[in-house]
Subunit: 552 residues, 2 copies
């Protein structure tokens, strides 16, 4: 497909009615408490032409559906307390990302594709940890590469012991690249498999089966074929019984109804305006304009049209659009507008009803979108000026930015709320305020205790501002900052931001994005993988790859 | 210099008498408790020709001297309790790694160079944390790039406020690469500088001076020129007074006296045998042959000829030789031979006299060498067979390996000692046994409590063995393992090992090697840095770099 995957425009909105590759059902035996999601990839329905999606291999289109169904399970199916992930294909669960798709993709597309699939797998785990929907991966057939990486993103794995079905990570031996969708990290950090066994496993193209897979810790159980279904059902039943998920009125996630033009996109609460020539964009989030739900009950009634849901779903879509469809944009101004009181009222509702099941899901959605911002490889500068609305939840946008420019002028201010104190942790597990003040942690409390409008002088003193030019300097200083940033090496900026954004503790998530992805990006660029005679390029052809053997 | 840096043979042994670029003195005012190390790089004495080392810029040769002097300070100068690092050049401390050297180096050399310089800076910090020799960086002039990275590896930084002297990390704006010698990581993780200020700092080519440098946390103090020397001396005096360093008889580090041939190297206790065609090597460490010191006093008398010192200094040299001079070697067999009782006797001495100052330094040396092994980008397979001597300290070699092959035969065994229980932590802060048993931590105690010889069956049961073929399978299985490993993509192996070796917690050290270095390696490979029109390639020339602006 060559550059085609890079030149197509990718859209991330979908709906179960339009799924091509996944089937969602609710098996009767569990009385609706268990959802069953089965993969049945249509070979000829890839996102772009040129690579048949054989053996349940996936491309971005398949993963967009997976991300969508996981989101909907949380909002639209409150009765679900456990998830089975399986396959409708015989003897195969999933053979991972399609190699011909990868081999033919640009570097930028490969990297973006891996980031999105990593996010989706982390969402699967977050769904278990935070929403009480655990997952069992039912391997009635072989799971290889990204297929096994999807399996280890589930809580439990049952592999049929039929003499043939195996789990494997053949990326290193067959393709000369890494199991980079969290595979290496989850082996040693999540399943805590011994490093030497992990080493052997990752170089064994044919993988590991049955009893040995259990012994090594690669799967949790490997029953013989006749007992397989029962074993899976038993685990799902126990998982659903353990779940602490609260019931709530389902919230249907409607379409986003975005208007896209050459120069950007207009959502209801989010605007994107592009300057492709300057390689900059402006991303504006608007505060609610009308009346917003004041209780969990009202939220359930209003549904997905509530500002907090709609605005952050829009922001999520806008970020993905920037990542995939506007590669040349390097620097993004983060702006807000509207009435801060309306945002703070929403925050107060979220804080007051945080025990409510639906409010919890909405809060978690915001958390995930903010994390998507944290790991987006663009430079973000928050612009705080008259008319801005960086209050509470929207203040998180500024705190997620690489820099904060705040105009030193009367009437310019920010506000804090309870939502800055914990509900939206970054991938490193800290709040954005904690991450900001690693050197002086007492400042976190000082900021959180700042009641009322925090003007530029006070914000500067609190440590919330990078630069605070006055009216005379503002236009020039901000303009020059964007021009300078946009002139720097995009690679250096990506590496720099990946390092500076996540000080302090590390989590499996930061390890996946910061360490594993960096190594994978390196390898994805090396001639040994993607050169004319590289392993990824030559996959499926009779020729053997030729390596530059120098170890680095 | 093109490929020349890659084709020269690098030797790591040196001696103060032969230093070209550093001067070590012991200022009278501190009565010998403070060492002063000043940089005065000789422009025309670079490791290879072709890049004048202007403005105290450094190449590998300069850093080899730095590593040597830090080692000698610990062993040969027990009276030293604080270290000043400064410059003998006017208005310049150090301008970092020489750009023309970097621009002309191969990818492999750049990566290896950065790893070595990273290790040296970590040793400087370890010297402060573990040996009570703190460091003050005296910036009487500008520190840029690697110069500032050396400064932030010190405990304290004093910058003269003379209107001109600045600290800066201009790698991103000027070269399109990262401050990859720990720079980005130390900014946010060691000095805990706010991420937005770090962002601004790292894109400001001219850097930050005086008061602002103090405010941002980039330096600890910025006195005016007339007060500079006093400020530095005061900090050094306080540091030396705080030091808990114990006195001991100096140990002179003599020459290693290695015999090198086409097919390897023979040290007294270490042998390296190379098979360049098969891309494999065998690294053998021999147990002591004669009588070894049984007390701290005897150790002081025997000096650096003691097995524990000599063997590990030899191993260190052999590892660096493999890294720099044998790039094509991908897989290394780790073997041992000799009398395990003799190793265990040394271990018992180290454990018994661990409070002794010299014993402590020796133990820390072993720790550092083992860490050097942990981060060496070669596949290591430990081979345990009749005649092997994987006991105590030497068992750590096996535990550092990616796999352990142990022959299932009578008379094959391993032994544990107190040295497996803590003194040799990995870069992640865990012992190698703890790292191995993240899944079943109770196994650590079980192994440590195993008295006497642990035969193959028992070792296997304890989880110490990856594969344990018997006499019938041994030769074939081991041969095939090496052949298979040596056939795999060297890049995939490097990325895989960097991920699998360090499960569990992260430290500044693992962040530097696992995250920052991975991003730097990626960037070092990108056309935006090293292509014909890349920023690193064009540095110093009138043309401006041309970037592929796609953000990834």
């Amino acid at each position: 497909m060559g550059e085609s995957a890079a030149s197509i425009v990718v859209r991330f909105e979908t709906h179960p009615d339009r799924y091509k590759h996944w089937k969602l059902s609710f098996p009767e035996e569990h009385g609706g408490t268990v959802a069953r999601l089965t993969m049945d990839v249509k070979e000829d329905l890839g996102l772009v032409a040129g690579y048949p999606l054989k053996l349940n291999s996936y491309d971005l289109g398949v993963d967009i559906e997976l991300a969508d169904v996981l989101q909907r399970l949380r909002f639209e199916h409150p009765e679900v307390k456990a998830l089975e992930i399986g396959s409708d294909k015989d003897r195969i669960f999933c053979s991972g990302a399609n190699i011909y798709m990868l081999g033919g993709s640009t570097h930028a597309f490969k990297v973006n594709f891996c980031k999105f699939t990593n996010e989706t797998r982390l969402y699967l785990e977050e769904m278990s940890a935070e929403s009480g929907i655990g997952s069992v991966c039912a391997l009635a057939g072989t799971a290889s590469g990204g297929g096994y990486e999807l399996a280890i993103a589930c809580d439990e794995i049952v592999l049929t012991d039929d003499g043939g079905s195996a789990v494997s990570l053949p990326e290193c031996p067959l393709l000369g690249v890494l199991p980079g969708t969290g595979g290496l990290t989850r082996l040693v950090d999540k399943r805590k498999i011994r490093r030497d066994l992990s080493d052997a496993f990752c170089t064994l193209a044919e993988g590991v089966r049955g009893k040995r897979a259990v012994e090594w810790g690669l799967v949790d159980e490997a029953p013989p074929k006749p007992k397989f279904k029962d074993a899976v059902a038993k685990r799902l039943g126990a998982m659903a019984a353990r779940s602490k998920r609260k019931s709530f009125t389902p919230m249907k996630l409607g379409p986003l109804e975005v208007k896209r033009t050459e120069s950007g996109a207009e959502y209801k609460y989010v605007s994107v305006s592009l300057d492709e020539k300057a390689r900059t964009a402006k991303l504006t989030v608007r505060a609610p304009s009308g009346k917003e739900p004041e209780s969990a009950e009202e939220l359930a009634k209003v549904g997905a049209d509530a500002w907090i849901v709609r605005a952050f779903r829009e922001l999520d879509d806008a970020l993905l659009d920037l990542r995939f469809n506007h590669l040349g944009i390097g620097t993004v101004a983060l702006e807000t507008s509207g009435d801060p009181e309306k945002v703070l009222a929403v925050d107060a509702m979220l804080a007051k009803y945080k025990e409510d099941g639906l409010v919890r899901e909405v809060t978690l959605l915001v958390k995930r979108v903010l994390k998507r911002l944290d790991v987006t490889a663009k430079s973000f500068f928050a612009i705080i000026q008259p008319g801005s609305c960086f209050a509470g939840t929207l203040l998180e946008l500024a705190l997620a930015a690489d820099r904060i420019y705040m105009k030193d002028e009367d009437g310019v201010f920010v506000r804090v709320s309870a939502m800055n104190a914990g509900p939206f942790p970054m991938p490193n597990g800290l709040t954005r305020l904690q991450s900001r003040f690693l050197r002086e942690p007492e400042r976190v409390t000082r900021v959180l205790e700042s009641a009322g409008n925090i003007d530029t002088g006070a914000a500067n003193k609190l440590g919330l501002v990078t630069f605070a030019p006055d009216d005379i300097d503002w236009d020039d200083e901000v303009r020059i900052a964007f021009e300078e940033r946009a002139s720097l090496s995009p690679d250096a900026m990506t590496g720099m931001e990946a390092s500076l954004r996540f000080g302090g503790p590390e989590t499996m998530e930061t390890k996946i994005f910061g360490r594993l992805s960096a190594w994978q990006n390196w390898i994805f660029q090396r001639p040994n993988a993607v050169g004319e005679r590289g392993a990824l390029t030559l996959y499926g052809r009779p020729e053997r790859p030729e390596f530059d053997w120098r170890r680095t």
